[in-house]
Symmetry: none
Subunit: 225 residues, 2 copies
DNA sequence: CGGCGTCTTCATCGAACTTTCACAGGCTTC
DNA sequence: GAAGCCTGTGAAAGTTCGATGAAGACGCCG
């Protein structure tokens, strides 16, 4: 469902629009204004998909595409103003997975991203998670405690999914925010506390003495394990 | 699922690309570099579908299309660089079943091929789906609730088919759009809500308390299960 | 050309959710 | 024991979400 997407586009208007649309889809969006930054971010943040404008300062999209493809298999969607066949082929040879020719509709872009993510199996990667008597099934969007179905909100579910996917690992609030909301969401870290409380109220037999979602003082939270 | 497809395209780069993408879909692909060869192969190998480039040496795509159509009902997808209305009309008059205008994305081509195969009944029509007392028969394009035939519109039927094909799986609105419309459609996600409401009105005993098509808050919809 | 059914968008309302804030209590560190 | 930091918790504001009806857009058929 939600993927981390790097958008490399130098025109702020464009990038802002793209960001808004992709985020509306539930994705986390990181924006780079030139090719060099794009490469750096692609390496350090390991996004699930990269949207590349061909025309960019410093290092252009084609070069970024070539380098990225040499380093990883991250799905790449190219944005190009030039609609010549040569350009399309060139891009493909470089390893781009799909194209959108400008001018495009935001909806089209979103649809292409969706298709690409789907094809790349980014969304299907998660099977059901089982820890203790907690079961989290991303596909069904359901959580069970001891077989009992517990209704959770979207955020609560994501939080539980992230925590339960690595039992015993202590996450900081920032990490949890990043995993559940996106890498560049401007939200107070304390908000995580609120969600944790709500989650505990729903899944803990005694919220005052948590069995599943444990506090790690000075750090954040972890799932028992 | 897997069909035998003849691709008539003189540009090796293009044909290679198309071949790769179609084979990735599980199809068997045969390539012809000019119209004359294409005609021969179409006759001798009886493909399930033909992809025809308009511009080809020897015999052009339009001629091939005309001849093929006179001889058989094989589904024909035209590739054209010219996007004039006259051309499109000409192609369709000649019996082409669909067309793709260059430059196109590989994904779009693959989608059109899939849609065309489906429409032509070449792909094994999925067998009837039975969940609870709901029966969806894609081949007959009929839906039954408790044995009772319920008349649905095309969109309603597709929606029900997709949902019922994976009972319990929570679909986002985006996924439903993609599954029912294909990914080059520009449609608001809210439109799904409208179709769901219409569908519920027809199949639910009490639309206010759905038994079959359930809302998954924060996510989308799912079929009971 | 006009009517009809379908598809899509829009506006709206109420409900649910997210986020912030303030405060209390507990633990740690001197 | 006191100060300071950290977490738990509830209330409240702000925002989003979901259901729904109305209306426009579109294509089809007579």
């Amino acid at each position: 469902m939600s993927a981390r997407i790097l958008v490399a586009e130098d025109d702020p208007k464009q990038s802002h629009l793209i960001k808004a649309y992709l985020e509306h889809e539930g994705h986390s969006v990181l924006v780079a204004r030139d090719g060099r930054v794009a490469l750096d971010l692609a390496r350090s943040r390991t996004p699930d998909l990269v949207v590349l404008d061909v025309m960019m300062p410093e290092v252009d999209g084609l070069d970024v595409c070539r380098v990225l493809r040499a380093e990883s298999r991250v799905p790449i969607l190219m944005l190009t103003a030039r609609s010549t066949e040569a350009d399309l082929l060139l891009g493909l040879d470089l390893g781009a997975d799909d194209y959108v020719v400008k001018p495009y509709s935001p909806r089209e872009l979103v649809a292409r991203v969706r298709a690409l993510l789907r094809r790349s199996g980014v969304e299907e990667a998660d099977g059901p998670i089982r820890v203790l008597d907690v079961e989290v099934d991303p596909e069904r969007f359901e959580a069970r405690i001891g077989g009992e179905l517990v209704p959770l909100t979207a955020k609560e579910f994501e939080l539980l999914r992230v925590l339960a996917s690595a039992p015993g690992k202590a996450f900081t609030r920032g990490q949890l925010l990043q995993e559940t909301f996106g890498f560049d969401h401007n939200v107070q870290e304390r908000t995580v506390d609120a969600h944790v409380m709500n989650l505990r109220r729903k899944i803990e037999p005694d919220p005052a003495v948590p069995r599943y979602v444990l506090t790690v003082p000075g750090r954040g939270y972890k799932f028992a394990g």
